[in-house]
């Protein structure tokens, strides 16, 4: 039986680990390699690392850092940040990364998804959608360049387009929920989940394991990410890398998943 995935998502800026709120105010929380080592011990389902400023600054991915992380990862490793070409995708791949996350370039040059999938396989091409709810209309919109630039694109139809072009997974990242620990945007998740049949991973808003359970209860086999929840502890947001134990995870899944 396939299980839902509970995934820490780490944000990197200038080689340091940071955590943002609504994509702003990055707070330094430590060293990424050290975090990976702790997540190894905790046997996390998967790990996503996003280098948040690379695309905006037009830099190449930091291959040395990616390689160091990949060497350390004993779990499936998804890297995103600054990958624009098939060659870059292939190079990141060759460093021992299982999945490459694409964001800005998928918007600017959608057919690149097909070319990357031909090279590395559909299963390894992940499209991350950074999504913001517009203030007045209440409509959802895809943003790029670390949330700084609007695209006018509707997330549902764009997700379908990405699937049709060959993406193997969609990550739904809510900018409004990022770092707030106030629960997931369930409407946004349902809209996209119902429209595609490739794996979905959701990100933005996890404040407790109950929030994660709520997503799994509604959607079954799905990936659920958390940033703040797995790097902070307590209301003063003290930095403490954490993850549910096997026992805690099984208990959660037995409540929301296994009794379906």
């Amino acid at each position: 039986m396939l299980y839902p995935r509970i995934i820490p998502c780490l944000l990197v800026q200038n080689k340091g680990l940071v955590k943002t709120i609504k994509f702003k105010d990055p707070k330094y929380v430590g060293d990424p390699i050290n975090a990976v080592k702790i997540f190894n011990e905790k046997e996390v389902d998967e790990l996503i690392v996003l280098d948040i400023d690379v695309s905006k600054e037009g830099r190449e991915p930091d291959y040395k850092m990616i390689e160091n992380l990949a060497i350390e990862c004993r779990m499936p490793f998804c890297y995103g940040g600054g990958i624009k070409t098939v060659e870059q995708a292939q190079r990141v791949f060759s460093l021992g990364v299982e999945k490459i996350a694409i964001s800005s370039v998928a918007v600017k040059n959608p057919t690149i998804i097909t070319k990357m999938a031909e090279r590395v396989g559909n299963q390894s091409v992940v499209v991350v959608l950074d999504i913001k709810k517009k203030m007045i209309s209440g409509k959802y919109e895809i943003m790029i360049h670390n949330g700084s630039k609007s695209t006018g694109l509707d997330p549902v139809s764009f997700a379908v387009k990405m699937q049709d072009l060959g993406a193997g997974e969609i990550v739904i990242n809510s900018i409004d929920k990022d770092g707030t620990m106030s629960g997931f945007d369930m409407n946004l998740i349902s809209n996209i989940r119902e429209s595609v049949n490739i794996p979905i991973t959701v990100m933005g808003g996890a404040g407790t394991l109950i929030d994660i359970g709520e997503v799994i209860k509604n959607h079954g086999i799905i990936g659920v990410c958390a940033g703040s929840l797995f790097v902070f502890k307590g209301k003063f947001r003290a930095v403490l890398i954490n993850y549910p134990t096997v026992l805690e995870k099984n208990e959660l899944l037995s409540k929301v998943f296994l009794n379906d």
Binding site: R74, G220, I221
Partner: protein, 204 residues
Amino acid sequence: MITIIDYGLGNIKAFVNVYDRLNIITKVARNPSDLKNSKKIILPGVGAFDYAMTQLNNSGMRTALEHEVLHNNIPILGVCVGMQMLGKSSEEGTISGLGWIDGTVKKFEIDALPHNAPLPHMGWNTVMKDSDSPLLKDFKNHSRFYFLHSYYFECDNSENSISKTEYGITFTSAVNEANIYGIQFHPEKSHSNGVQLLNNFSKI
């Protein structure tokens, strides 16, 4: 010593790293002479079937590899696409596989999957043993491993299947024929279960 074939497709370092922790020496093979005197060989693979086969064919190592595996009977472990390459062909492409184990690679039918189950088959799934293969020694039935694929190996001869996994259908998740082994899941990314499996392979 474990020889890991590097034909430009992923994950080499992840294997090296696991064996480093097990204090088992590894060697990365990038040309035919690197394959000489191999004791155990790992054929990793991520990516598309045709690209993987093309890369292997173009690496110049195929003949030497066939000599080691088919003539010297050196144990080999194909992982993910590396397992699929052991078959005759794949629905994912048009290039022939190695054809060392009778079987073909098929795509999961999305209509046959349980309600709302996505494709690729991605995540932690359970492995049910078909046999007492030394590769799966000391594993409890239903041990969890990490999967990431849309295609699966269908054996012509059921005795070649050494484990099965369920995802809509029940498919073969590990194969064996004589000294040739293949696993669909990723041991290098499956935490302690994966380490155990790679350790088992080193002792075959």
